[in-house]
Symmetry: C2
Subunit: 257 residues, 2 copies
């Protein structure tokens, strides 16, 4: 795996596998959870892709993303049915065989009643040669890690449990901090001052997110960075800008607001 230098934030991509996401039947909720969780250890998600259950698409995406980011997290496609092809595709992307993993078999044997571990379920015990297992405390069928790619389930409860378990094994980066300045001003009225603020604080990431809530329009201005002193200084300037424009700034730590 690519170890990030201590001063930089490791990067990650999320690869969501599944026709059901691309048809609109299922709304993905995993990306936001993975992004927030990784942000908590200073790993930044820089890209996400959604691809269908097609071998060439999955293989190409795995190879494009693992070459570019420190970590790749995939969700979906590791169940027992014919459309679960992620494990085989990851093996192909790495140019290794897909093998029956003895430890994975043992976990499934303990989970299922005698006679229930059929051929379909044994598909879930196949991982690429050289992979290590990712624990699944919910339903036992493991995910796996190979190189910098982490293959997880698509069912949100299971994905979350897998991610919690592998988090201590990731190399994080400098803590990311955030402040939010919410106000009832229109984006277009604060845009000029906000752009000038971004120019004065190039090391911070300043985003503007309009909202319509309880019958009122407003905007949440989110500032992010690793240097809390600079973050607080920029936040104070921004609150002053809002007041100068006749608004009432509501400053909170974090990104909600």
């Amino acid at each position: 795996m690519t170890a990030a230098p201590a001063a930089a934030n490791p990067t990650a991509a999320v690869l969501i596998v599944g026709n059901e996401i691309l048809s609109g039947r299922t709304k993905d909720v995993n990306l936001a959870h993975i992004a927030e969780t990784l942000m908590g250890i200073g790993v930044l998600v820089r890209e996400a892709r959604v691809v269908p259950d097609l071998e060439e698409e999955i293989v190409a995406a795995v190879n494009a993303l693992r070459a570019r980011y420190d970590y790749v997290f995939t969700t979906g496609g590791i169940g027992p049915t014919h459309d679960d092809i992620t494990s085989a595709c990851v093996a192909k992307a790495f140019g290794v065989a897909l093998e029956l993993n003895a430890e994975a078999v043992a976990r499934l044997e303990r989970h299922y009643a005698p006679g229930q571990l059929n051929e379909a379920r044994l598909r879930m015990a196949h991982v690429p040669a050289g992979a290590t297992l990712i624990d699944n405390p919910i339903s036992q069928a493991p995910g796996f890690r190979i190189g910098n790619v982490f293959v997880m389930a698509g069912v949100p409860q299971i994905m979350r449990a897998m991610l919690d378990g592998l988090l201590p094994k990731l190399q994080g980066g400098p803590a990311q901090h955030a402040r939010t300045v919410a106000c009832e001003l229109a984006e277009g009225n604060i845009a000029a001052g906000l752009g000038a603020l971004q120019d004065r604080y190039p090391e911070l990431e300043i985003g503007s997110y309009p909202y319509f809530r309880n019958g009122f329009f407003g905007v949440s201005l989110v500032l992010r960075g690793t240097d809390e002193a600079r973050l607080d200084a920029a936040t104070e300037e921004l609150a002053g800008l809002v007041r100068d424009l006749g608004g009432t700034p509501n400053v909170t730590h974090g990104t909600k607001g």
Copy 2:
């Protein structure tokens, strides 16, 4: 634009632009809506990407996707603030200038009170040379179309209104139909029969989506295709398979269940 032959379904990609999606602050809800809406006219979303507010990332994604799919729909990054750079990036991707559009200016002039159409808001009247406007009945600031790329707002209400308006201008494809067979069986018990069914109906797309609802595990088996007679035949076989395995199939039209 690439016109799809009448017998095939045109393809589409969705490009979601915005740091707030990659940080987890905002959960994307646009992909599912776009996918379902396009499916309704026989256009199939085959890929989605989420990229940050960075020029090189947006330009590269626009060019990769527009070369590969019949349509590309982007969301986000067309507001008045410094982090709204999608329009400039799309112009760059097409190698054309970003120009102040007279019709867009006129729409904004009608929308804002005198003196309110400042420089920041005029950013929203800039579109790539050769682009045509996409109506925004909510807040007037238009999206635009250039080539096979449709650039829309990220705020869901506005994006939906834009999509509704441009839908009649898209070339659709054969109607896609779906059936869902829900049952309380475990995926692993039906997997073998389901795979054999998929083999017998290669022209259909059969997906298996486990759920946990009201304290019960179950699975929704979704069949999709353009040939309703074949779809109904496969659905009937699948319902029979569920019954043979001791389950109670709940068959519905559409993908819910």
